[in-house]
């Protein structure tokens, strides 16, 4: 399993948000994208998820360009946005039913990633009555319905308490162990330390960054 992102460009009007963004990763790796608010992290993740069109560039998963072939993206890539993309009026079960085939849902809840995320514990709770951590876990659960090989997460544990964070991290570790590629846009130090490779996004340019537990250095460079 290998992915490569090559020369992604994006411009909003006169502002060039992303300039020739390139990186690559193999199965089991976690790539962290670091940068201050407004630096373009979410834009990059959204492009890779197929929500925004890039002006140029490619995103190869194995040997197929996911930016050009929708089916590749639908089959192999999953995206979890910053918030909680679930329907508040529906229960966890009904939310999941929108994304999973019944037999897959049953299987995932019994022994799959949905079990790892602990969603089986609050299946019949209406989303509007869930805690933020439950919503986040449910969001991830909905996003990974296609058993993805590449998981794109935009600040996955922002505003979660420690217990919820740990549930999410448990899943992310399991995902990487299964050979998946994780791409994280994050501000979280623990998540940065989880990454096998980090990149700093500043003024539209992505540069490799090696985090060595030096917060001052990170703050100076960001």
């Amino acid at each position: 399993m290998h992915i490569s992102v090559t020369d992604i460009k994006k411009r909003y009007g006169k502002k060039e948000v992303l300039k020739n963004i390139s990186f690559s990763a193999s199965g089991g790796e976690c790539i962290g994208i670091i940068g201050k608010n407004g630096s373009g992290k979410s834009t990059l993740i959204s492009i890779l998820a197929g929500i925004i069109r890039a002006d140029a560039g490619s995103f190869f998963v194995e040997d197929r360009d996911a930016l050009k072939e929708d089916t590749v993206r639908h089959d192999l890539v999953a995206y979890v946005p910053q918030g909680t993309p679930i329907i508040e009026e529906l229960s966890a079960r009904d939310n999941l039913r929108m994304w999973y085939r019944p037999e897959d849902l049953k299987k995932q809840l019994e022994s799959g990633f949905l079990k790892v995320l602990g969603i089986d514990e609050f299946l019949d709770v209406t989303a509007g009555k869930m805690s933020l951590g439950m919503k986040k876990r449910l969001s991830i659960g909905c996003a990974i319905n296609n058993n993805p090989k590449v998981l794109l997460l935009d600040e996955p544990t922002a505003a979660l308490d420690l217990v919820c964070k740990e549930a999410v991290y448990a899943y992310l570790r399991a995902f990487m162990e299964s050979g998946g590629v994780l791409i994280l846009a994050t501000h979280d130090i623990y998540e940065i330390s989880m990454c096998s490779g980090c990149y700093l996004l500043k003024e539209g340019i992505l540069e490799p960054y090696s985090y060595n537990n030096d917060m001052t250095d990170l703050l100076n460079r960001i």
Partner: protein, 415 residues
């Protein structure tokens, strides 16, 4: 995720929200229905009692002028719309105007009758209106027409004939006899015309009976406002849900179509239930309109068919408004103001033809105005191809615009 499962989710949502939506729509239908029926039954226009009070400031010592004013308030063209009052003094006339006893004061200057006789146009009649826009303007025009067509020309003709008599070689006694005969003939002609004309008050609005006009207005206003009963469908921010659905292959167009379908089905169920209740009232003859007095069932079915077409268009319009507005207050307030304004211009509360020309034209081409024309076709049974085409075009345009708005919303992550 497929478009089908996305649709399933939206239907589930609307089902969860439906008890509230349905209850609200019933309460709303009841309130607007009762208010509308009471208004239609007791309105002054229906009783033909709401006349425009017109005051005339002129000398009461001129018998011919007084007679002319009396005729203004009694002949066929005017008896339904004006009451006349005559004032001797300027103070009395303007007091009446300021006290809202009259809407217009017509000042007939001294020497006006002599000017008619000698074809001198220097003394000009002046009209003072209590207000200047809207219905007052329309009635003012009517009053001017009455004055110019019925009073001035007729009496100018009478004076000319009197003047012609002076040039004959007849004696004064014979002239007086002929003069009286001429005057009596004139009066008889006016009275005969008034008596021979039977006026049937068929209504106010666009070829429909009075009650049918009100029925259409009430139904359309209900339809426009019905969407507010479902506003909970639009209140939570679902941008990230739309984003993730987009990344899973559910395109904005598919999202919009499935959401619109769910929204429409909810509105359809609520409105069909309300229409059924109205049908029961019609069948029980508790309320009624002239157009449905015969063959109620087939005509009501025809009307319901047209209504569904209108519902398709108005639902797409409100869907667009709710989609583009951000924030709970804006989402409610701005569409409400837009829809109230559009409803007024489109003649939901008052016949469109009573509005000034420009407003009338604008109202006709607004989406709400097109809906009015289509639904009135449903009442009268007269097919209006132009309105149907415009209705379809508006629906298509709204759905395209809302799809575009959704695409922008997803791409920019607008909450």
């Amino acid at each position: 995720m497929s478009t089908g499962t996305y649709f399933y989710g939206q239907i589930k949502r609307i089902v969860k929200l439906f008890p509230g939506i349905f209850t609200l729509s019933l309460v709303f239908a009841l309130v607007i229905g009762v208010a509308g029926v009471l208004n239609a039954r007791h309105t002054d226009y229906n009783k033909v009692t709401s006349k425009y009070n017109v005051g005339f400031l002129c000398g009461t010592d001129d018998a011919l002028l007084s007679m002319g004013l009396q005729f203004i308030g009694s002949i066929d063209d005017t008896q339904l719309i004006v009451n006349t009052f005559q004032y001797d003094t300027e103070e009395a006339g303007f007091d009446a105007l300021h006290n809202n006893e009259i809407k217009v004061l017509v000042v007939v200057p001294d020497g006006f009758m002599d000017a008619l006789m000698y074809s001198d146009d220097s003394p000009v009649i002046k009209l003072y209106a209590a207000s200047q826009k809207g219905i007052t303007t329309v009635i003012m025009e009517e009053v001017v027409n009455i004055f110019s067509d019925d009073m001035i020309y007729t009496e100018a003709g009478l004076y000319s004939l009197q003047e012609d008599l002076d040039y004959t070689s007849l004696s004064q006694e014979e002239k007086t006899k002929l003069n009286d005969k001429l005057f009596i003939t004139y009066m008889n002609a006016l009275l005969s015309r008034g008596l021979l004309t039977e006026i049937e008050h068929i209504g106010l609005g666009d070829g429909m009976s009075f009650m049918a006009f009100f029925f259409c207005g009430i139904v359309l206003f209900y339809t426009v406002m019905l969407s507010f009963c479902s506003i909970s469908f639009f209140l939570d921010s679902h941008t990230e849900f739309f984003m993730i659905a987009r990344s899973k292959g559910v395109k904005p167009s598919s999202q919009i179509l499935t959401e619109y379908a769910s929204f429409f089905i909810s509105n359809l169920i609520c409105s069909l239930f309300t229409l059924f209740c109205v049908y029961v009232l019609f069948a029980a003859k508790m309320v009624g309109i002239e157009e449905f007095s015969k063959d109620l069932f087939p005509r009501y079915i025809r009307f319901s068919g047209y209504f569904i077409l209108v519902l398709i268009e108005l639902t797409s319009f409100t869907f667009l408004l709710f989609e583009v507005m951000r924030g709970i207050i804006n989402k409610f307030l701005l569409p409400f103001l837009v829809l109230i304004g559009f409803s007024f211009l489109s003649g939901y509360f008052y016949p469109r033809s009573f509005l000034p020309d420009a407003a009338c034209t604008i109202g006709e081409y607004l989406p709400t105005g097109v809906a009015y024309d289509v639904i009135s076709s449903g009442v009268t049974g007269v097919f209006n191809a132009k309105s149907m085409l415009m209705l379809a075009a508006y629906t298509a345009v709204f759905l395209i615009l809302v799809t575009y708005a959704r695409r922008i919303r997803i791409e920019r992550g607008i909450d």
